[in-house]
Symmetry: C3
Subunit: 343 residues, 3 copies
């Protein structure tokens, strides 16, 4: 693809500083970019590289200046970089239409404008809306709906009765709607509590490879609009995740816990069941959350602590052996004092 | 479905307090239940809601009383709730019989009374017993047996030579019988040790979505009767899990470790290899277990501690910065004493 | 299979002590081995069992002696055990050739000497080289290459544009090339940054069941030669793992982190993004790594500490309640001194 810098600035709504005729052919990271490439600076710590980069142009924040360089100034250079990637590398699928080699049960409803690859499976009562793309090995259970323009990559499974919104992306191996983990008399009879609820995934959600979202016992497990979930994440039955939240890889959220909007959770964090996490909470990677968190808090550690306290606690923790030694020395000295006093 | 409360009490072996003619049409959680619904109280902390619920009937423990309410008294209300769900929402499969679009290798044995969906794959020497249900995308390796009435949901993989018992449920994405992780000279040559054992899964086991159970190096990896395993759990080669144990999501159990009966393990716990965990042990979520645990112990933390000690340790941990400050103050005071004494 | 001990010694390049005519029919662990079996001792702590084992022969390290026993002395008995397993139990696949029931898009290139099972899917531009084995349910994206003699077990997914080397083993449920987790304005707009790079997996890599390797944002995510990755591991976009490294189950490595050669990482460890881990580093299970590690270091804990310091810190941590009590006692005593001095 070839496009002038002027064309790029128009597409991104940016302002050019420098030569707007330069031809851009590719997008590269700043340390690799050369002639014909556009790159970006989203972080002040890379400003140094602005002087030395051989890129033909750089996306940068307003007010950035660099003598002799061609800049496109945009409000959010990283988001603009994403937009450019979309233009240079549009998402492509190797197949179009509804394959005769897909298995579509009688009573399923598939839009003529959907794509269903060979080897996909759509059960009765399911509905695949226009623009949706169903890859090979995908299983859609009965009465499940897949909304417009959603993409289900190879080997995704969605059990029966679930609702997948519009523009949702489910990466390979994702399982939606498997039974929640509920047993009466656990460790003894382990009587299975049937899980007869469903999963609702709202518009613009993306879920990473091999993540699992269990169906509710009754009612629904609910992933809100524009939530982004990374790989190998576990979402238990009846969990609710508020819109725009971001859940990093290998996080586990236990049953019936409710997350507010715009919650950000670092990788491998575990969250106990039946609690509430407020809006805009941030949780550091590797945390163990056992009780509710009010809106806006920043939390870390296992068991959880406020972030600033956690930093201090961990600084002390590394010095525990010294503290113990000091404590023993003081104890000895005090014993000596006591002896001196007693004499 | 419509059934009188009398009918429900008969099915559950419960005792009615109130009107046994009331018609029940659905099951709902206590906070949502209204006329025509039955609900349940399994936990004393919800007893307050007994007065205010609009449900037509409530499953409750013996001795419960509530003026003007229709109660069904049963020994275990939560288990009874599960039984009722089974009656109102029986498990259904959208397909019956052995599909011509399944791929069954020559030399496989599939009961006429089994269900094999289109797109399932059964290898030579495998045996699928009556009542078993094999969903699309399931792969059954050669010489593997699937017992009566077991359900393997979409995209489950069972490698060759494994034994799956009766009434086993494997959720989507489960992998049974992949190679254990064994290499000679790790970090250097990484010579693969072939994993030539198998996996045995006994009757009434349920395994959650995307969990992995590796085959043994020699001999077997063994999941005992009625064990319940949640999603994204890793069971390494030659592990043995005693009957009725409950393993929560994202737990990892390393090679050759043996768990007793009725062990309950909280989510994201990691257990080292080659150790023994006794019967009835309970391990809190997020623990790191590096040495054996005797029967009946309750354990928490990483590294592990007895649960009560762990509670005390963690209470102190949060106060480490104060402790450090106090320690420094005492040190200064003692230095002053010494100076005074020396004067 | 039947083979004389002499034959075995020849195959392994070992030296026999004892009777070289004995017939070996099977391989068993030392505690189970009987007549006709060969076993091995790879660890000095099992030397006692050398005297009591009923095995017909034992693989052991040079200089081992045991009166009346038949030994095969080899440099690395565990590796030799692996070689023997390969001989007694060669890897077998139930199918050979390229199935008509596989779905191979026009423009894919599949070697006549490859095996493609029924129900596998190969996209246009993909290349499957000779000796490769592609199981049912595998999806190979467009322009992806699978090198000679690699095995992709059932339900593996490889997205488009990836490179899989020679003799690579991908276990069931592995996902290679799913989108990295990148969003501008996280928690707010969550603008997707398209992930247009790829994954390169070098020769002799093995990846365990349900592990996920994300494609790079730009450039490549790179798994070096002979790296071994266990089950349920998460490798984020643009990560580089140096050759011969060993990554145990449920580890998560965040974006753009670079591991050196021969790094060994214990299970459930989490590693932050954008850092460098030197050659030959060892990281204990359950660690939380937030900053770079120099070559050769041994590290443990979360947050990370040098291994020896971590041992001391954790020993103190268990004694925190006692330390707190002692501290309070000393404080009281000093207050009493002060009162005495003030009197």
């Amino acid at each position: 693809m070839q496009i002038t810098l002027k064309g790029i600035a128009l597409l991104l709504g940016g302002k050019i500083v420098g030569n707007d005729d330069v031809i851009i052919e590719n997008i590269r990271p700043i340390e690799e970019a050369g002639p014909g490439d556009i790159t970006f600076i989203a972080n002040a710590k890379y400003l140094k590289q602005l002087k030395t980069t051989a890129a033909s142009a750089i996306l940068a924040a307003p007010q950035t200046s660099a003598a002799g360089k061609n800049l496109v100034l945009v409000d959010d250079p990283y988001a603009a970089f994403g937009q450019l990637l979309n233009i240079f590398y549009p998402v492509e699928h190797s197949f179009r239409g509804i394959s005769r080699d897909a298995f579509i049960e009688e009573g399923a409803s598939v839009s003529d404008e959907a794509t269903v690859y060979p080897r996909a499976y759509v059960s009765r009562g399911a509905k695949i809306e226009k623009g949706a793309v169903i890859y090979p090995g995908v299983f859609i259970g009965s009465n499940t709906t897949v909304g417009e323009n959603s993409i289900l990559y190879a080997n995704v499974t969605v059990y029966s009765g679930c609702i997948i919104g519009k523009r949702v992306i489910l990466h390979s191996g994702v399982v939606v709607g498997s039974d929640g983990f509920g047993f009466a008399a656990p460790g003894k009879a382990n009587n299975k509590i049937p899980q007869v609820g469903f999963v609702q995934i709202d518009d613009d959600v993306e879920i990473g490879a091999n993540s699992t979202i269990d169906r509710a016992t009754l009612g629904k497990t609910w992933i809100g609009r524009n939530v982004k979930i990374d790989n190998l994440v576990q979402i238990a039955h009846n969990v609710v995740i508020g819109e725009n939240s971001v859940i990093t890889a290998q996080v586990g959220i236990s049953g019936s816990t409710k997350l507010g909007k715009s919650v950000i959770i670092g990788g491998q964090t575990g969250i106990v069941g039946h609690i509430t996490i407020g809006d805009n909470v941030m949780i550091a990677a590797g945390s163990g959350i056992h009780k509710e968190i009010e809106a806006g808090q920043i939390i870390a550690g296992s068991p959880q602590l406020p972030y600033r306290q956690w930093l201090k606690v961990e600084a002390c923790r590394a010095k525990l052996p010294e503290m113990k030694k000091t404590l023993e020395e003081l104890k000895r000295k005090i014993e000596i004092f006591q002896e001196q006093i007693n004499e």
